[in-house]
Symmetry: C2
């Protein structure tokens, strides 16, 4: 089962690391316990909406940016690619077939 | 404060209504209490990741589609427009100025 909290945790950790901040700094700025934030980042605890807003704020990142990234990662996990970045499998076959005919 | 659960609730309700399903049908298919699902839809309860996955499944909607819609609505609330759908204000001024010169 794909769990949203796992992706939320990964995204929060990735944004934090991108900004070069420690767990301690973000937890302190967001007024949440360090151990709690650590569990959220590891996908072990569900963060309430209030905590999410507070952590997003501490990361100077809009909550929409975080949730969109979560949505995009979930899409990859579900095999839903928003923008195809390679030639689709069946088109590849078409191209090959065409080459063979010529 | 912008609350993620409020948007999640709105999106779940909108998808349910789009599919013409009742609270009772979705709650039953997702194996969650009707009163609980109703509270989630109204943004009064945080849904766990397991419940979210189960409700998304009951709505025949990938969880990524739900979370992306949540992200998009949060962006609107935060005034972050992903794709400008109108001519930007300063370009409008340019066009007007050009018309005046001619």
């Amino acid at each position: 089962m794909i769990l949203v909290r796992q992706e939320i945790g990964d995204v929060l950790r990735d944004f934090r690391l991108q900004k070069g901040r420690t767990l301690r700094q973000v937890a302190s700025k967001a007024s949440v316990a360090l151990g709690y934030l650590s569990e959220v980042e590891r996908g072990q605890k569900e963060a309430s909406s209030e905590i999410l807003a507070s952590v997003a704020d501490a990361l100077d990142t809009p909550i929409s940016v975080i949730m969109r990234e979560v949505g995009d990662r979930l899409a990859v996990l579900e095999g839903i690619n928003p923008i195809p970045d390679t030639v689709p499998e069946d088109l590849v076959v078409d191209f090959d077939a065409e080459l063979l005919v010529r």
